[in-house]
């Protein structure tokens, strides 16, 4: 599963993209965030205010309760500020 990070989530996590294999019991975006935060202080910091983090599964916006099974690409980013 490919993970992408954007904007300050990327800067805080210190990584733009990586391939990971989360444990079997990680079923949703919310659970994936909880697991990511255990991977080190950078991730704990990047996802500290997890309620403001937005996610996308395979290039579509996804809620924190969305199931991640079968996802090829999951992205994490702050609220968007384009336009």
């Amino acid at each position: 599963m490919r993970l992408l990070y954007f904007a300050w989530v990327k800067e805080k996590a210190g990584v733009a993209a990586e391939d990971i294999e989360p444990p079997e019991n990680v079923a949703t975006i919310a659970e994936l965030i909880v697991w990511l935060k255990t991977r080190g202080p950078e991730f704990a910091n990047a996802f500290a205010r997890s309620e403001v983090i937005r996610a996308a599964i395979d290039k579509s916006h996804a809620r924190h309760d969305a199931k991640i099974k079968g996802a090829r690409e999951i992205a994490f980013f702050p609220p968007v500020t384009g336009g």
Binding site: K59, S60, H61, P79, V80, T81, G82, G83
Partner: protein
């Protein structure tokens, strides 16, 4: 049509291309978003985006507008990369037989784009560099369209 690009766009040329040879259009609305220097606080703005998702999301937003209003043509152009105060950021153009549809669809495209298209602005200036925070008013503007959608 949607485009995501680093280079600038020419508003007049875009509108001209969209209406070329057509005699059925009655109203064309354009929205151009530009970089503000906020009294000198901003000297550069960098727009990061999520290639692939950006295009997909802009296409979804445009399709949604076309489903809601009788548009004869529409265009979204959004830039990314390093910009200076005064530079163009985004262009939205809508064409319809009547002005209300063109006005509403253009506003809708901007409201949705502001809350859904995966772009992030980073501003630099004398005070340092910071990521722009999302405005709650943008969420409210986008949410205001929801009831109509549900009613359809």
């Amino acid at each position: 049509m949607i485009r995501v690009q680093q280079e600038d766009f020419d508003i007049g040329a875009e509108i001209a291309r969209l209406k070329a040879g057509r005699t059925d259009i009655g109203a064309i609305v354009s929205f151009t978003g530009t970089v503000r220097d906020r009294g000198g606080a901003v000297t550069e703005m960098t727009l990061e985006h999520y290639p692939g998702m950006t295009e997909a999301e802009l296409q979804r937003i445009e399709a949604e507008a076309c489903a809601r209003w009788p548009l004869q043509a529409s265009l979204i152009v959004h830039r990314y990369g390093a910009l200076k105060p005064g530079d163009n950021i985004v262009l939205v153009v809508t064409a319809s037989e009547h002005r209300d549809a063109a006005f509403e669809a253009a506003k809708f495209l901007m409201d949705y784009l502001k809350t859904r298209a995966p772009f992030w602005k980073r501003e630099s200036g004398p005070g340092g560099t910071r990521w722009v925070e999302a405005a709650e008013s943008d969420d409210a503007s986008a949410a205001a369209w929801k009831p109509k959608r549900a009613a359809e």
